[in-house]
């Protein structure tokens, strides 16, 4: 990075740290913060969409509501970590299996050979000839999808409750005005339910922020992975910047990051709440 970094052993502390903190490995560490933030930015709306569909299905007529309720119950009931380990392999193999059926109809060998899962090389996802970044993007998208499915179920439960919390009188009034069920749902129910959903969704958002270290289970190298890797003791034979066990400092840095992020989120949620309750008799509601 800097010209004086050529021989780190001879540097005094400040310069040594300037060099140390700008090694290629640290740059990857810094960019992994971007990965985590990007994951949150994509996952949150996707999970909300999953949740909305789930809640709508759960409220719907009989066969549809079974699907919605089963989705909610299964995902909420299974430990996250089991789901993540299962999904990363099952989704990936599912996609490859479908592609295999389409792309290689005359393949003769079985796909499952003992422990091995083998599809024709044209069906590999991504193709094993594609560059490393394609593999990383693919892994990231699998991660987003898995997070969205898991958190979508919790969001569905929150939204389902919120939809039921909207006062019945509102719905009846809408019907009295001659609105169709569809109009009632979109114009009366949905705008009012957010207030009831917000504290539950806010909690989910906080849990989602803290769940990002699960990313490494899915093969995405996140900030916790890099903090552990960089903080581990380094012997001089394998690096220009040997140091002892510094994991404490790296994790302390992560702690500050997560706390700050939580604080910002809280402030944002508070403002959102104020905005959503604007003009609504919520909180200080009279019983008239």
């Amino acid at each position: 990075m800097f010209a004086f970094c050529a021989d780190p052993d001879t540097l005094e502390t400040a310069r040594w740290f300037a060099c140390y903190l700008t090694t290629g490995k640290h740059m990857v560490f810094y960019s992994s913060f971007g990965t985590v933030l990007l994951l949150l930015a994509i996952t949150a709306p996707t999970a909300l969409a999953f949740g909305f569909l789930g809640a709508m299905a759960a409220r719907g007529p009989a066969p549809l509501s079974w699907i919605g309720k089963t989705y909610i119950a299964i995902v909420r009931g299974i430990p996250d970590i089991a789901f993540f380990l299962f999904f990363v392999i099952a989704l990936d193999q599912g996609f490859e299996w479908i592609r295999h059926q389409i792309l290689c109809p005359d393949w003769e060998q079985p796909i499952r050979q003992g422990n091995d899962f083998v599809v024709c090389s044209a069906a590999k996802l991504p193709l094993s000839s594609s560059p490393q970044w394609v593999h990383e993007v693919y892994g990231f998208l699998i991660a987003v999808l898995t997070f969205a499915i898991v958190f979508g179920a919790f969001a569905a439960n929150v939204l389902y409750g919120a939809m039921r919390a909207v006062p019945q009188a509102q719905i009846e009034t809408a019907q009295a005005y001659g609105m169709t069920p569809r109009q009632t749902f979109w114009r009366i129910l949905v705008p009012q339910m957010w207030v009831y959903a917000l504290s539950g969704l806010g909690n989910l958002w906080m849990v989602l922020i803290k769940a990002t270290p699960l990313l490494f289970l899915l093969g995405v190298e996140d900030i916790v992975y890099w903090a552990r890797e960089l903080g581990g003791a380094k012997t001089p034979r394998f690096t220009d910047y040997p140091h002892g066990d510094w994991r404490l400092w790296y994790f302390l840095f992560l702690l500050v990051f997560y706390l700050a992020f939580t604080k910002i989120s809280e402030a944002a949620l508070e403002r959102l709440m104020a905005r959503l309750t604007h003009g609504q008799a919520f909180g200080a509601r009279a019983t008239s």
Binding site: G24, K25, S121, S128, G219
Partner: protein, 240 residues
């Protein structure tokens, strides 16, 4: 329409042939000197050099990827990469799930390292990495096994007193004991496993033979021994 389909099929066959030529090598990247991430975040170490040389000899285009040790075998069998080169000892249990090439490091000793000479290796607490032959050995030895996900954490556990000793490949511990005056080897070395080999899927016999031939050629011309001496020091075990 039929012609179009045919052309697409040929195009796919073409990419399939190309795709075969890229071999993805999976490693842990946390087990120096075998494999680790250098200051630029790239895979480096003995296995990096060896793997690149094997690929050059076998005319393969190779790409390195890192994977958590714990899920390194499941990700191989579900075809996320094609070869494991991660300081993995050839054992019967692993051989049931995947196939190994011939060994590229002879069966080397595992050793205990501790802060004091009197560390109790039979009744005390011994740290080892999860899912390793060393962990299996500690569990069988009667000592209390303390497992960690990464090799680095096993050493840290000894330094902070959580464990009485760490049990790992001696080649991994040598640089650590050399650098740290407080740490020393205790007890006798224990020979474990059948040496280190590259793991491939059981259905991937062709790749296994290719790599096997490349390893054999490095054994025959002595370059593998040179590489072992360069990375593991003068006292390292070499092939006859």
């Amino acid at each position: 329409m039929k012609k179009l389909l045919l052309t697409t099929a040929i195009a796919f066959a073409g990419t399939a042939a190309l795709a075969q030529d890229v071999v993805r090598l999976g490693t842990e990247g946390a087990y120096p000197p075998y494999n680790f991430l250098d200051d630029n975040g790239e895979v480096a170490g003995f296995e990096r050099v060896l793997g690149d040389e094997l690929c050059a000899r076998a005319n393969l285009t190779c790409e390195w990827v890192t994977n958590d040790w714990d899920s390194i075998i499941p990700n191989l069998v579900s075809s996320n990469y094609d070869v494991i080169m991660a300081g993995m000892s050839i054992t019967d249990e692993r051989d049931e799930v995947i196939d190994f090439t011939q060994n590229y490091v002879p069966p080397a000793a595992s050793a205990y390292a501790a802060l004091s000479e009197e560390a109790d290796l039979e009744g005390g607490v011994v740290a080892a990495q999860v899912n390793t032959i060393q962990a299996a050995h500690v569990a069988a030895s009667g000592a209390t096994l303390l497992e960690f996900a990464t090799p680095d954490e096993t050493v840290a556990a000894v330094r902070n007193g959580e464990a009485d000793a760490v049990f790992a490949d001696k080649d991994f511990l040598v640089p650590i004991v050399d650098e740290d005056a407080a740490m020393s080897f205790v007890g006798d070395d224990v020979p474990l496993g059948g040496g280190l080999g590259a793991g491939v899927r059981e259905s991937d016999g062709e790749l296994r033979e290719t790599l096997d031939a490349a390893i054999q050629s490095m054994k025959d011309d002595g370059s593998l021994n040179e590489l072992i001496l360069e990375w593991f020091g003068e006292d390292a075990l070499v092939f006859e």
